[in-house]
């Protein structure tokens, strides 16, 4: 090499080094998607835990017999179809041909039966289904048969549950794990494979396209129904806990998608033309004020009703998502706004002008004489924290002798499990929120349950609500479901297992060159880079 060549080479190397980092990206990057998920993935078993991040992980690597479309109607997914016999009491489901697990083994009915059995022990819809199942058996490698005590019209909807531990199909050796123990491997038959060798909880989760996945030939992609086509060869979840850092990484192109930016960060990202700020789910999450029904002051129905005139859903939602009215809903009842069972029965006490004075007068009528109450809530989870702050202000203004206990989420979820009275560490009130799919119907709707000590934290006893819920499972058509939903809401707004404090959209920030995203959850099939 002579002096001139050396200089030329050095100059070229210098110029290359001076290029911006992203200019050195390879074409293969087009089939790589980097995303910052809503939380860290810690547990890999979506049956063992109901954490939403584990549910999303489940949708990456597992598949289910049925999927739900955007109208929450069940559609065959792993199933080729089904046959009903004996007036609907015998249901035979046939698997599609060519389904394989990520370890190369074929998906068989022998895998389906233990998977469904395990799911029925944990999911509330599954638990309800279990009460009508006489037998679930293998017919042959591709067919399973439900023998039911009576027809269960919602069977396929139950098998297609999207959230809260969906009925994912696992290999038999894993599905036979106790439902209260975690499975040891993450092997499914879904469109992406989990890369266990690259998993670093708290930092990185990697998925690879499963080359042997055969998408259903039926329908169009809609929530978890229709073909799940993986256009990305590799999906990386980068855990970035700091919102400002995640936003900066999105702006510099280090990541493509930030699942749940907080409101102040959304404002910042809206200025970037390459980033789309949109609702991840067209349906909103519902915020709730939960009472402890076991102890004073809210063991008394009149005390629960007394605070209704002071509840302003708009104010609560503005605390969560800001003042943009397109991001929240008011006039919210038991069911997710915009879904078939949503209605306005019994909502009058939450509508019209709000009045602290009226609420105070009702508190006096209910016999409130400065008894202590305790509001518990987290400071580290965005929406519940904001609603708790609003609630704390409200109970102070109402003149409650209030003890406000704000802790981290880990402490709140432990403390809310206490059924003790206040002087032994109990609680009176808390705020939290539920995703749209949880409140679509009564199946997975925990807070509306009135089954006493078996109910969700707060433990209301409302037998009439339980009767109506049981009747809903047997409703023959949508009109009957809707009539029952109105009645349920009327009872609920009188008995007040909880108070809905509004509904809000979950906003996501995604690069505009990513198209085809299926709305509803953070789902990765069908997404491609334009």
């Amino acid at each position: 090499m002579n002096r001139r060549d050396l200089l030329r080479t050095s100059a070229a190397a210098g110029a290359a080094a001076a290029l911006p980092r992203f200019a050195t990206a390879q074409p293969a990057q087009n089939r790589l998607l980097k995303m910052v998920p809503q939380a860290n993935l810690t547990s890999l078993d979506p049956i063992w835990t109901t954490a939403n991040i584990t549910r999303n992980h489940g949708h990456m690597i597992y598949d289910s017999l049925y999927g739900l479309d955007a109208n929450f109607a069940p559609q065959p997914q792993m199933a080729e179809g089904h046959v009903l016999d004996d007036g609907g009491k015998v249901v035979t489901i046939t698997l599609r041909q060519g389904l394989k697990f990520h370890d190369g083994e074929p998906v068989r009915a022998q895998d389906v039966v233990p998977s469904i059995n395990r799911w029925m022990k944990r999911n509330p819809f599954g638990q309800k289904l279990a009460t009508v199942v006489d037998a679930l058996e293998v017919v042959d490698d591709r067919r399973v048969r439900f023998k039911l005590k009576r027809p269960f019209p919602l069977l396929f909807k139950a098998l297609g549950q999207v959230s809260n531990s969906p009925a994912f199909i696992m290999p038999q050796r894993l599905a036979e794990t106790d439902a209260f123990q975690q499975v040891r491997e993450a092997i499914g038959s879904g469109p992406f494979k989990f890369k266990a060798d690259e998993f670093n909880s708290g930092s990185l989760v990697v998925y690879e396209k499963f080359a042997d996945y055969v998408p259903t030939p039926n329908g169009t992609p809609s929530l978890t129904a229709g073909p799940k086509v993986a256009y990305m060869d590799r999906v990386e979840w980068h855990i970035i806990v700091d919102a400002a850092t995640a936003a900066a990484a999105l702006q510099t192109g280090e990541i493509d998608w930030y699942e749940q930016p907080p409101p102040e960060i959304q404002q910042l990202l809206r200025r970037n033309r390459q980033i789309s700020i949109e609702a991840i789910d067209p349906l909103p999450l519902t915020g709730i004020l939960r009472f402890n029904h076991l102890h004073p002051p809210f063991a008394d129905k009149k005390m629960r009703q007394a605070i209704l005139p002071a509840i302003n859903q708009e104010e609560f939602m503005q605390a969560v998502v800001g003042t943009d009215a397109s991001l929240f809903r008011t006039g919210v009842g038991l069911f997710t706004p915009g879904t078939p069972l949503a209605n306005d029965a019994g909502l009058a006490p939450l509508m019209g002008p709000r009045s602290l004075d009226r609420a105070k007068a009702l508190m006096r009528e209910a016999g409130y004489t400065n008894q202590p109450m305790r509001l518990i809530g987290p400071t580290d989870i965005l929406a519940p924290a904001a609603m708790t702050q609003m609630g704390a202000d409200l109970v102070r203004r109402l003149g409650f002798n209030a003890d406000i206990v704000l802790t981290d989420w880990g402490t709140t979820v432990t403390r809310r499990a206490s059924r003790e009275p206040l002087d032994r560490g109990g609680w009176s009130m808390l705020f939290t929120s539920f995703s749209s799919v949880d409140f679509v119907d009564p199946a997975a709707h925990y807070p509306m349950r009135g089954n006493g000590t078996s109910a969700w934290f707060g433990w209301p006893t409302i037998p009439r609500l339980e009767e109506l819920r049981d009747a809903w499972f047997d409703a023959p058509d949508l009109a009957a479901e809707q009539a029952l939903a109105r009645e349920m809401q009327t009872v609920a707004m009188d008995e007040l297992p909880y108070v809905p404090v509004g509904a809000y959209l979950s906003i996501t920030a995604i690069k505009r060159n990513l198209t085809g995203r299926v709305p509803g959850l953070a789902l990765f099939w069908n997404i491609r880079r334009s």
Partner: protein, 313 residues
């Protein structure tokens, strides 16, 4: 000397035992329940109780403590309640980023701060001294995360010279490795530069007044020789002490820096484990940290003998 080292190493055993007892007891009485976190927001109380039983969290304190100590003695830190991964593997995954951050930060801090302090002492009372001390006050006053955001905004968002976040293992090459560490090391190091520079200046000022320095000048020794051979070596003991304390403080400081720059280190692992109540991980990491503290202190004590031959153990 050898006997001293053996004695010090043996002395770590009761220290570690006390730390183990303290950490275990603290976690036992602290509020929070991993079963409730695992079960999620929609779980029923019965679900939570079943999970508690399956994790063995319903067993008496002494039984759990005894099992844990027995495992530790066999070198087994246990398995994470949440990820089902061995704690030792999780620590192994996270130790390189934290070590890298600490080493680069310390190198940066020492190579900048010691000359700064020496020069400030040499030019005491001049504008150079004032500039160094102003920088030190500023670095002390601005929190690490503010410096971090500022650096990320300028060098990553605006200039696009360096990445905003993440960590690249050293095995992927020195270039990518150091690229990810520059901003966090500068952010974290700013406080230590200020601290070490101030101590160096103060100690050097004292040493420069000593008779032997005057003698050295009288013998015609050069300024550089006086500062770095005669003065700095004699000022080294307090400086080394501060650097040792700095290493210990770095572990705490790394938590914030690792969060701001999304570095998957031990600091983040600890915070995440605390928030989830992942007891085996918390216990494992705290034991490791306390062991590192003990070793760092031992190393500092041994370094004293290097700089000051009068010190003998």
């Amino acid at each position: 000397m050898f006997a001293y080292i053996v004695r010090r190493v043996l002395a770590t055993i009761p220290v570690m035992a006390i730390v183990a007892l303290f950490v275990f007891s603290l976690l036992y009485i602290a509020p929070g329940d991993p079963a409730a976190v695992i079960a999620g927001d929609q779980a029923t109380p019965e679900d939570v109780e079943r999970i508690r039983q399956s994790l063995g969290l319903d067993r008496p304190y002494l039984v759990r403590f005894g099992e844990w100590v027995f495992r530790i003695l066999r070198g087994d830190l246990g398995v994470s309640i949440f990820t089902n991964l061995p704690v030792s593997l999780m620590i192994q995954q996270r130790i390189e980023p934290t070590l890298s951050l600490m080493v680069v930060t310390l190198l940066l801090a020492v190579t900048i701060a010691v000359p700064m302090g020496v020069v400030a002492a040499w030019k005491a009372g001049t504008w150079i001294d004032n500039a160094v001390m102003s920088f030190a006050v500023l670095s002390f006053s601005v929190p690490v995360f503010v410096v971090g955001y500022l650096l990320a905004y300028i060098f990553a968002l605006e200039l696009d010279w360096l990445p905003v976040q993440g960590y690249t293992p050293f095995s992927n090459g020195f270039g990518p490795w150091i690229q990810n560490l520059i901003l966090p090391a500068v952010a974290l190091g700013s406080v230590y530069i200020a601290l070490i520079a101030r101590i160096t200046r103060a100690t050097m000022l004292e040493v420069l007044q000593q008779d032997y320095i005057r003698t050295a000048r009288a013998k015609g020794a050069g300024q550089r020789s006086i500062l770095f051979l005669h003065a700095l070596k004699n000022a080294a003991v307090p400086i080394v002490t501060v650097i040792g304390i700095g290493i210990a403080l770095l572990i705490g400081g790394a938590v914030v820096t690792e969060s701001v720059f999304a570095i998957p280190g031990l600091g983040r692992l600890t915070v995440d484990a605390i928030l989830r109540r992942d007891y085996p991980v918390i216990q494992g990491v705290v034991l490791l940290f306390s062991f590192v503290y003990v070793l760092v202190n031992l190393a500092i004590d041994l370094l004293y003998t290097l700089f000051d031959p009068r010190i003998r153990y």
